[in-house]
Amino acid sequence: MTLAVAGVTKSFRGLKAVAEASFDVAEGSIVGLIGPNGAGKTTLFNVIAGVYAPDAGSVAFLGKSISGLRPDQVCAAGIGRTFQIVKPFAGLSVLDNVIVGALQRCKSVSAAKSYAEHIVAKLNLDAKRNLPASSLTLPDRKRLEVARALATRPKLLLLDEVMAGLRPTECDQMVQVFRDLNRAEGLTILLIEHVMRAVMALAQHIVVLHHGEIIARGAPEHVVRDPAVLECYLGEEAQI
């Protein structure tokens, strides 16, 4: 098992953002984490990535507990993540942004540079590699987030709404990139996504979070017909 989340609970003051969430991500799989706004998806990501320590429960990665580690230690362990609200190094060029990530696994700056060039090309940012990150459009910034996270050579990639704001063709391109990475390099992916077109195309398994609790899980075509899922998205009347 690549990632094992067991009974994770995280509260902010009185609000339980995540309540006893348990799920596994198998090696080489792509798992989608969906749920309405405010369901606790990003909080759960932040617990996995080490931004928050869980109040209860544990997170294990490749059989070792990672709960309570700092974000940089989680990254070093082999988990790369993107931010829902993109956080580029605005003053640095696109390539330099990716080099910072690549330095995590490369011994020298020149090795990091050549690896970063390879990643930048993979995400179709080649033409913009010398532009400052601040000049990029939102879809390009999302790509940069992915490129930077990929440059750290993760075994597990956490994607937080990287398709949001992309046009359908751009979305399909991105889906293709992840599919290739998953097939060719065995990259395990856990993604939060509202764009169902991408989730249905990528995920083999879906976990649905609502009010911090997991209300459904399973294969995509089953989950989207689950009455509990329909209720939380569409309200009770929509049930048939």
């Binding site: 990535a49 974000p71 956080k87 190094f89 003053g91 330099d96 700056v109 750290t152």
Partner: protein, 277 residues
Amino acid sequence: MMGFAGQLSLGHSLYVGVAAYVAGGLFFHFGIGPWAGLWLAMLACVLIGAAIGFLAFRFGISGVYFALLTIAFAEFTRIGFDHLGWTGGPGGMFLKVAQRDQTDLLHFRGPPAMYYYAMLVLAAGAFALCAWLLRSRAGYYWQAIRENEEAAQALGINTFRWKMFAMMISSAMTAVAGVFFAFYYNNLFPEQIFHISRSIEIILGPIIGGVGTLFGPVLGAAVLTVLGDSITELLAALGWEIPGVKHVFYGVVLLAVIMFLPNGIWPALARRLGVGK
């Protein structure tokens, strides 16, 4: 260094002063030459820098509060030194002024020209060190921390460790300047050397020239010193002795730069000349 890692220090007079007093005191009391004193001065400053950095970064103090913390440390060290007998207290410490007509690099005594070249070598060395650091892993990490600390951490950077490193390098480099200061002026007063205006002078060059660039601080310092001193000289030549005119000039330059060139002179100039930063 602070420009690369994005931590504004307004207390660098602390390192100038401590280094000057360590090296000056060792020479004054024990006759230990400046070249040996330099290492101890650097060590002392690195330890102090590390202690302040640890306090600030461990408890997440940044931005304006970090600047205030550095001012506080510089100020209470100034007041502390006023009450230290070993350093001569507020009365000052006076190093023996040897004959200035012969060059004695070993004891760092000599004519003004020797100091000029020593400073030139020092500035070139500092510039080369910064240029090298900027292209190294440290440079990438510091810039990443400056731009977005949270993202830097997510990419595996131990931000605490790298900020500490920036702090220690910066204090060590300032220490070198402090030692040279002591042996150039030969007299040390806490009131002068630890004064906040010195810290501001240190940071004003980079701000005016361009924070986080290599040439910016050099250019900024040159603009301030050359123009500042020549205005004073010019006015003196015209028969007007106006104390503090240099600081008024600093203020005017700072205002102009903030209004018209918020990134500093160098980035704008570099764009005009079509060269990188």
